[in-house]
Protein backbone atom coordinates (compact mmCIF):
# COMPACT_ATOMS: atom_id res chain seq x y z
CA UNK A 1 0.00 0.00 0.00
CA UNK A 2 1.15 3.55 -0.72
CA UNK A 3 0.19 6.43 1.57
CA UNK A 4 0.51 9.99 0.34
CA UNK A 5 -0.18 13.04 2.48
CA UNK A 6 -1.22 16.39 1.04
CA UNK A 7 -2.67 19.66 2.25
CA UNK A 8 -5.38 21.77 0.63
CA UNK A 9 -5.55 24.96 2.68
CA UNK A 10 -6.32 23.79 6.21
CA UNK A 11 -7.63 20.42 5.02
CA UNK A 12 -5.41 17.37 5.48
CA UNK A 13 -5.70 14.76 2.74
CA UNK A 14 -4.41 11.21 3.05
CA UNK A 15 -4.48 9.36 -0.25
CA UNK A 16 -4.16 5.58 -0.02
CA UNK A 17 -3.60 3.25 -2.95
CA UNK A 18 -3.20 -0.49 -3.42
CA UNK A 19 -4.20 -2.99 -0.76
CA UNK A 20 -5.20 -1.68 2.68
CA UNK A 21 -5.07 -4.71 5.00
CA UNK A 22 -3.84 -5.88 8.39
CA UNK A 23 -0.20 -5.56 7.37
CA UNK A 24 -0.68 -1.82 6.72
CA UNK A 25 -2.98 -1.05 9.63
CA UNK A 26 -0.42 -0.03 12.31
CA UNK A 27 1.35 2.47 10.02
CA UNK A 28 -1.86 4.06 8.73
CA UNK A 29 -3.36 4.19 12.23
CA UNK A 30 -0.29 6.00 13.55
CA UNK A 31 -0.19 8.54 10.69
CA UNK A 32 -3.89 9.31 10.92
CA UNK A 33 -3.64 9.80 14.68
CA UNK A 34 -0.73 12.23 14.22
CA UNK A 35 -2.59 14.14 11.51
CA UNK A 36 -5.74 14.39 13.62
CA UNK A 37 -3.78 15.47 16.71
CA UNK A 38 -1.80 18.14 14.83
CA UNK A 39 -4.38 19.14 12.19
CA UNK A 40 -7.21 21.64 11.99
CA UNK A 41 -9.97 19.09 12.40
CA UNK A 42 -10.55 18.64 8.67
CA UNK A 43 -9.43 15.34 7.19
CA UNK A 44 -10.12 13.57 3.91
CA UNK A 45 -9.08 9.93 3.55
CA UNK A 46 -9.06 9.31 -0.18
CA UNK A 47 -9.31 5.58 -0.93
CA UNK A 48 -10.30 5.96 -4.55
CA UNK A 49 -7.25 3.94 -5.59
CA UNK A 50 -7.56 1.24 -2.92
CA UNK A 51 -7.98 -2.14 -4.60
CA UNK A 52 -8.77 -4.24 -1.52
CA UNK A 53 -9.66 -3.65 2.12
CA UNK A 54 -10.25 -5.92 5.12
CA UNK A 55 -11.80 -5.56 8.58
CA UNK A 56 -8.45 -4.47 10.06
CA UNK A 57 -8.53 -1.45 7.75
CA UNK A 58 -12.13 -0.77 8.79
CA UNK A 59 -10.90 -0.75 12.40
CA UNK A 60 -8.36 1.93 11.49
CA UNK A 61 -11.08 4.05 9.88
CA UNK A 62 -13.27 3.69 12.97
CA UNK A 63 -10.36 4.68 15.18
CA UNK A 64 -9.78 7.82 13.08
CA UNK A 65 -13.49 8.62 13.13
CA UNK A 66 -13.61 8.37 16.92
CA UNK A 67 -10.45 10.48 17.33
CA UNK A 68 -11.92 13.15 15.06
CA UNK A 69 -15.15 13.18 17.05
CA UNK A 70 -13.18 13.81 20.23
CA UNK A 71 -11.11 16.64 18.70
CA UNK A 72 -13.82 17.70 17.53
CA UNK A 73 -13.50 17.74 13.77
CA UNK A 74 -14.82 16.23 10.59
CA UNK A 75 -13.65 13.18 8.66
CA UNK A 76 -14.72 12.56 5.07
CA UNK A 77 -13.99 9.36 3.16
CA UNK A 78 -13.65 8.94 -0.58
CA UNK A 79 -14.10 5.30 -1.57
CA UNK A 80 -13.43 2.99 -4.49
CA UNK A 81 -16.17 0.47 -5.37
CA UNK A 82 -14.36 -2.33 -3.50
CA UNK A 83 -13.94 -0.20 -0.38
CA UNK A 84 -17.53 0.99 -0.58
CA UNK A 85 -18.77 -2.60 -0.85
CA UNK A 86 -17.04 -3.67 2.38
CA UNK A 87 -18.09 -0.52 4.21
CA UNK A 88 -21.69 -1.20 3.21
CA UNK A 89 -21.43 -4.88 4.11
CA UNK A 90 -20.32 -3.92 7.61
CA UNK A 91 -22.95 -1.13 7.75
CA UNK A 92 -20.31 1.50 8.45
CA UNK A 93 -21.75 3.67 5.68
CA UNK A 94 -24.49 4.66 8.12
CA UNK A 95 -21.89 6.36 10.31
CA UNK A 96 -19.09 7.55 8.01
CA UNK A 97 -19.46 10.59 5.78
CA UNK A 98 -18.63 9.27 2.32
CA UNK A 99 -18.37 11.29 -0.88
CA UNK A 100 -17.80 9.95 -4.37
CA UNK A 101 -14.64 11.88 -5.29
CA UNK A 102 -11.99 14.14 -3.81
CA UNK A 103 -13.36 17.40 -5.31
CA UNK A 104 -16.71 16.73 -3.63
CA UNK A 105 -14.95 16.00 -0.34
CA UNK A 106 -13.00 19.26 -0.49
CA UNK A 107 -16.16 21.11 -1.44
CA UNK A 108 -17.86 19.67 1.65
CA UNK A 109 -15.29 21.57 3.73
CA UNK A 110 -16.03 24.74 1.78
CA UNK A 111 -12.78 24.63 -0.14
CA UNK A 112 -12.75 26.41 -3.51
Amino acid sequence: MVMNEQKHGDIDIVALSGRFVMADAPEVRERLKALIDDGQGKLVIDMDQVSFIDSSACAVLISAFKAMQLKPGRLVLVTSPVVQALIELTRLHTIFEILPARPAALEAFGAP
Binding site: R19, V21, M22, A23, A25, F52, D54, S55, S56, C58, A59, I62, S63, K66, V82, A85, L86, L89, T90, R91, L92, I95
Partner: protein
Amino acid sequence: MLAAANVADSVTLKIASTAQQVSLLSEALHALCLYATGNEKCALDVQCATVEALNNVVIHAYHNQPGHEITVCWYRQDRQLRIEIIDNGDSMAALPEPVLPDFEAEGGRGWWIINASVDSYFYKIIEGVERERVLFPGENHESVATAKPNAHRNILTLLKQF
Protein backbone atom coordinates in the same frame (compact mmCIF):
# COMPACT_ATOMS: atom_id res chain seq x y z
CA MET B 1 5.20 -18.44 -0.05
CA LEU B 2 5.42 -21.99 -1.38
CA ALA B 3 3.02 -23.25 -4.01
CA ALA B 4 2.38 -26.75 -5.29
CA ALA B 5 -0.14 -27.80 -7.91
CA ASN B 6 -1.27 -31.30 -6.98
CA VAL B 7 -3.79 -32.06 -9.66
CA ALA B 8 -5.46 -29.98 -12.33
CA ASP B 9 -8.06 -28.49 -10.03
CA SER B 10 -6.23 -28.03 -6.77
CA VAL B 11 -3.41 -25.84 -5.52
CA THR B 12 -1.71 -25.81 -2.13
CA LEU B 13 -0.08 -22.66 -0.77
CA LYS B 14 1.99 -22.35 2.40
CA ILE B 15 2.87 -19.15 4.21
CA ALA B 16 4.41 -18.04 7.49
CA SER B 17 2.03 -16.59 10.08
CA THR B 18 2.56 -12.90 9.28
CA ALA B 19 0.19 -10.20 8.06
CA GLN B 20 2.43 -9.51 5.05
CA GLN B 21 2.26 -13.14 3.94
CA VAL B 22 -1.52 -13.18 4.43
CA SER B 23 -1.83 -10.26 2.02
CA LEU B 24 0.44 -11.92 -0.53
CA LEU B 25 -1.43 -15.23 -0.36
CA SER B 26 -4.87 -13.69 -0.58
CA GLU B 27 -3.87 -11.73 -3.67
CA ALA B 28 -2.62 -14.95 -5.26
CA LEU B 29 -5.86 -16.68 -4.30
CA HIS B 30 -7.89 -13.89 -5.87
CA ALA B 31 -6.00 -14.34 -9.15
CA LEU B 32 -6.52 -18.09 -8.97
CA CYS B 33 -10.25 -17.77 -8.34
CA LEU B 34 -10.61 -15.23 -11.13
CA TYR B 35 -8.78 -17.53 -13.52
CA ALA B 36 -10.86 -20.54 -12.48
CA THR B 37 -14.29 -18.90 -12.48
CA GLY B 38 -14.03 -15.82 -14.71
CA ASN B 39 -16.20 -14.15 -12.09
CA GLU B 40 -14.74 -11.05 -10.40
CA LYS B 41 -17.43 -10.93 -7.71
CA CYS B 42 -16.79 -14.54 -6.76
CA ALA B 43 -13.02 -14.01 -6.68
CA LEU B 44 -13.40 -10.91 -4.51
CA ASP B 45 -15.80 -12.68 -2.13
CA VAL B 46 -13.37 -15.57 -1.69
CA GLN B 47 -10.54 -13.13 -1.08
CA CYS B 48 -12.59 -11.24 1.53
CA ALA B 49 -13.45 -14.42 3.44
CA THR B 50 -9.95 -15.86 3.19
CA VAL B 51 -8.22 -12.72 4.41
CA GLU B 52 -10.47 -12.56 7.47
CA ALA B 53 -9.94 -16.24 8.20
CA LEU B 54 -6.16 -15.93 7.83
CA ASN B 55 -6.08 -12.80 9.99
CA ASN B 56 -7.90 -14.79 12.67
CA VAL B 57 -5.29 -17.56 12.47
CA VAL B 58 -2.41 -15.08 12.80
CA ILE B 59 -4.01 -13.23 15.72
CA HIS B 60 -5.90 -15.91 17.64
CA ALA B 61 -4.37 -19.28 16.77
CA TYR B 62 -0.74 -18.09 16.66
CA HIS B 63 -1.02 -14.94 18.86
CA ASN B 64 0.88 -12.81 16.32
CA GLN B 65 3.93 -15.06 16.53
CA PRO B 66 5.50 -15.11 13.06
CA GLY B 67 7.32 -18.45 12.97
CA HIS B 68 4.38 -20.73 12.29
CA GLU B 69 3.01 -22.30 9.14
CA ILE B 70 -0.39 -21.80 7.55
CA THR B 71 -1.47 -24.01 4.66
CA VAL B 72 -4.22 -23.04 2.24
CA CYS B 73 -5.60 -25.74 -0.04
CA TRP B 74 -7.69 -24.53 -2.96
CA TYR B 75 -9.97 -26.90 -4.89
CA ARG B 76 -12.34 -26.46 -7.79
CA GLN B 77 -14.94 -29.13 -8.32
CA ASP B 78 -17.83 -28.78 -10.74
CA ARG B 79 -19.05 -25.24 -10.03
CA GLN B 80 -17.82 -24.98 -6.49
CA LEU B 81 -14.64 -23.64 -4.93
CA ARG B 82 -13.43 -25.14 -1.66
CA ILE B 83 -10.73 -23.44 0.37
CA GLU B 84 -9.21 -25.16 3.39
CA ILE B 85 -7.18 -23.05 5.82
CA ILE B 86 -5.03 -25.27 8.00
CA ASP B 87 -3.07 -24.29 11.10
CA ASN B 88 -1.52 -25.99 14.13
CA GLY B 89 -2.22 -23.21 16.60
CA ASP B 90 -4.77 -22.82 19.34
CA SER B 91 -8.15 -24.23 18.36
CA MET B 92 -11.41 -22.37 18.62
CA ALA B 93 -13.80 -23.80 21.18
CA ALA B 94 -16.73 -22.76 18.97
CA LEU B 95 -17.31 -20.83 15.78
CA PRO B 96 -18.13 -17.21 16.68
CA GLU B 97 -21.61 -15.96 15.81
CA PRO B 98 -21.52 -13.88 12.63
CA VAL B 99 -22.97 -10.73 14.14
CA LEU B 100 -21.96 -7.11 13.73
CA PRO B 101 -20.56 -5.45 16.85
CA ASP B 102 -21.49 -1.94 17.97
CA PHE B 103 -20.12 0.72 15.68
CA GLU B 104 -17.63 1.89 18.32
CA ALA B 105 -15.97 -1.53 18.44
CA GLU B 106 -12.95 -1.67 16.19
CA GLY B 107 -12.80 -5.47 15.95
CA GLY B 108 -15.26 -8.31 15.62
CA ARG B 109 -16.39 -7.93 12.01
CA GLY B 110 -14.38 -10.78 10.53
CA TRP B 111 -16.92 -13.57 10.93
CA TRP B 112 -19.68 -11.32 9.63
CA ILE B 113 -17.63 -10.78 6.48
CA ILE B 114 -16.80 -14.49 6.15
CA ASN B 115 -20.45 -15.46 6.60
CA ALA B 116 -21.58 -12.95 3.97
CA SER B 117 -18.87 -13.78 1.46
CA VAL B 118 -19.12 -17.56 1.12
CA ASP B 119 -22.05 -19.96 0.82
CA SER B 120 -21.07 -22.07 3.82
CA TYR B 121 -18.17 -22.88 6.10
CA PHE B 122 -17.24 -25.32 8.82
CA TYR B 123 -14.38 -25.85 11.25
CA LYS B 124 -12.68 -29.14 11.98
CA ILE B 125 -10.22 -29.91 14.76
CA ILE B 126 -8.15 -33.01 14.13
CA GLU B 127 -6.63 -34.18 17.38
CA GLY B 128 -3.36 -36.04 17.10
CA VAL B 129 -2.69 -38.72 19.68
CA GLU B 130 0.59 -40.52 20.17
CA ARG B 131 -0.15 -44.06 21.34
CA GLU B 132 2.61 -46.21 22.75
CA ARG B 133 2.35 -49.96 23.17
CA VAL B 134 5.20 -52.08 24.53
CA LEU B 135 5.34 -55.80 23.85
CA PHE B 136 7.71 -58.21 25.62
CA PRO B 137 8.64 -61.74 24.58
CA GLY B 138 6.31 -64.34 26.03
CA GLU B 139 3.62 -61.86 26.93
CA ASN B 140 0.47 -61.81 24.89
CA HIS B 141 -0.75 -58.47 26.13
CA GLU B 142 0.64 -54.93 26.20
CA SER B 143 2.68 -54.28 29.29
CA VAL B 144 2.53 -50.53 28.89
CA ALA B 145 0.00 -48.54 26.94
CA THR B 146 0.04 -44.79 27.06
CA ALA B 147 -1.59 -42.13 24.97
CA LYS B 148 -0.63 -38.46 24.95
CA PRO B 149 -1.81 -35.52 22.89
CA ASN B 150 0.39 -34.75 19.92
CA ALA B 151 0.28 -32.17 17.14
CA HIS B 152 -3.19 -31.27 15.98
CA ARG B 153 -4.64 -29.46 13.00
CA ASN B 154 -7.43 -26.92 12.74
CA ILE B 155 -9.11 -26.78 9.35
CA LEU B 156 -11.52 -24.04 8.36
CA THR B 157 -13.29 -24.95 5.12
CA LEU B 158 -14.94 -22.27 2.99
CA LEU B 159 -17.33 -23.23 0.18
CA LYS B 160 -18.37 -20.94 -2.66
CA GLN B 161 -20.49 -21.71 -5.70
CA PHE B 162 -19.79 -19.95 -8.98
